[in-house]
């Protein structure tokens, strides 16, 4: 009798342990999958210079670019990391590139939350006022002519792409196009 009850209790212990292993594994799996894009984005934001204004102009993409996966060798990039916690960001650009260009916004979980390309801009300068999910104590008015864009996260990254067919031949034009990008906190 005692032996049988001991065996049953040992079985129950093993079932409980196995259930605990599965529950922990499921939780860790979920947490890891959730954290991966955020950790990777965080690393990118930290490496893109000071958040809140500065435009970063990396050199034309080649094999030495090992910060962001699958860099396109046909695009010239410009980035600015932003933090909308304290103030909105005013984004302005007037790229006169011969081909495709776009300005895309990424939330801190890596989602592409906004994109505007050259065809949509229709030759007009880009003027955006980017606000975060939380209200500001003193909300600045949307400047005349600017379009209001709401980011679902306070921190994020703006990425400008300028298509380059031949960098040597088009250098002046495409460099001038991306150099028009301005990211300035609006206070």
């Amino acid at each position: 009798m005692i032996a049988a009850s001991r065996a049953a209790s040992a079985r129950r212990r093993w079932v409980l342990r196995a259930a605990a292993v599965v529950a922990i594994a499921v939780a860790v799996h979920g947490l890891a999958v959730w954290a991966v894009p955020r950790v990777i984005m965080n690393r990118v934001l930290a490496g893109t210079g000071a958040a809140g204004g500065g435009v970063f102009l990396p050199p034309m993409t080649d094999a030495s670019q090992r910060r962001i996966v699958m860099p396109s060798p046909d695009l010239l990039y410009a980035t600015c990391a932003f933090d909308l916690g304290a103030a909105p960001l005013r984004v302005r650009a007037d790229p006169k590139a011969p081909g495709y260009w776009s300005i895309a916004l990424y939330a801190s979980n890596s989602d592409n939350v906004f994109v505007l390309n050259d065809r949509q801009a229709g030759g007009r300068p880009v003027d955006l006022m980017l606000v975060g999910p939380a209200a500001y104590a003193a909300a600045p008015a949307v400047p005349d002519g600017a379009t209001l864009v709401t980011s679902p996260t306070a921190r994020g990254l703006l990425l400008m792409r300028v298509l380059v067919a031949d960098y040597v031949a088009q250098r002046e034009q495409v460099e001038a196009a991306r150099a028009t990008l301005r990211c300035e906190p609006l206070r």
């Binding site: 342990r17 594994a25 890891a32 999958v33 860099p71 046909d74 895309a104």
Partner: protein
């Protein structure tokens, strides 16, 4: 359980630590196994797989994590569609030491490119600085088809067919970017006329 039958504290702690360690290890290993697959994307055309929800707020957590690992800062599909190939048309894994002929018709879009990446998702370090073939650099034949060769060393037909150098012996990934895809392709990504990826010669 009565206090008298309780196991020693040290043993119970050891069992607890083993349960915790095993659970954490299984959780991390399963996450890694699911996320590390570059071809783990949904829909496909020939050897090409497309991540339809790349960059999208509608992406499930696994897609979002997979894209962050293998295609961070992707654009949404109205803007750009990304087709990724890790295998040739016959289904064999792509290797950089082998030679491949990639041939197809330009996709229905404003602009496109095919780029060769090493299996770490970065460009091959090649002095020629030739990493991609695109809508502007590709030369179309009389049938409107483009072609290029990827190979570790310069192929004999390099004078007539563009060559993308793929040095070393490691996994190879081709990414086809389709910028401003036409609405029909956006609606049915598998309708892409998939560029063929054929091995050239023997690859030991």
């Amino acid at each position: 359980m009565s206090a008298g039958r309780r196991r020693p504290l040290g043993r119970r702690l050891a069992v607890g630590a083993a349960v915790l360690g095993l659970g954490v290890a299984l959780g991390l290993a399963s996450a890694w196994a699911v996320l590390r697959r570059a071809d783990g994307f949904g829909s496909g055309a020939g050897p090409w797989r497309v991540a339809l929800l790349a960059g999208s707020a509608d992406a499930d957590p696994w897609t979002r994590a997979r894209v962050a690992i293998g295609g961070l800062l992707a654009l949404n599909r109205e803007e750009t569609m990304y087709y990724v190939a890790t295998h040739d048309t016959a289904g064999a894994p792509l290797r950089s030491r082998c030679s491949y002929r990639v041939e197809g018709v330009p996709p229905a879009a404003r602009w496109w490119s095919v780029t060769a990446y090493a299996d770490d998702f970065f460009l091959f370090d090649v002095p020629q600085r030739r990493y991609s073939v695109n809508g502007q650099t590709a030369v179309l034949d009389a049938r409107g088809r483009f072609a290029f060769t990827s190979a570790p060393t310069e192929p004999r037909d390099a004078g007539t067919t563009p060559w993308l150098p793929t040095p070393g012996d490691r996994g190879l990934i081709f990414t086809l970017r389709v910028y401003s895809p036409e609405a029909a392709l956006q609606a049915a990504p598998a309708s892409l006329d998939p560029p063929r990826i054929e091995p050239v010669g023997r690859c030991a």
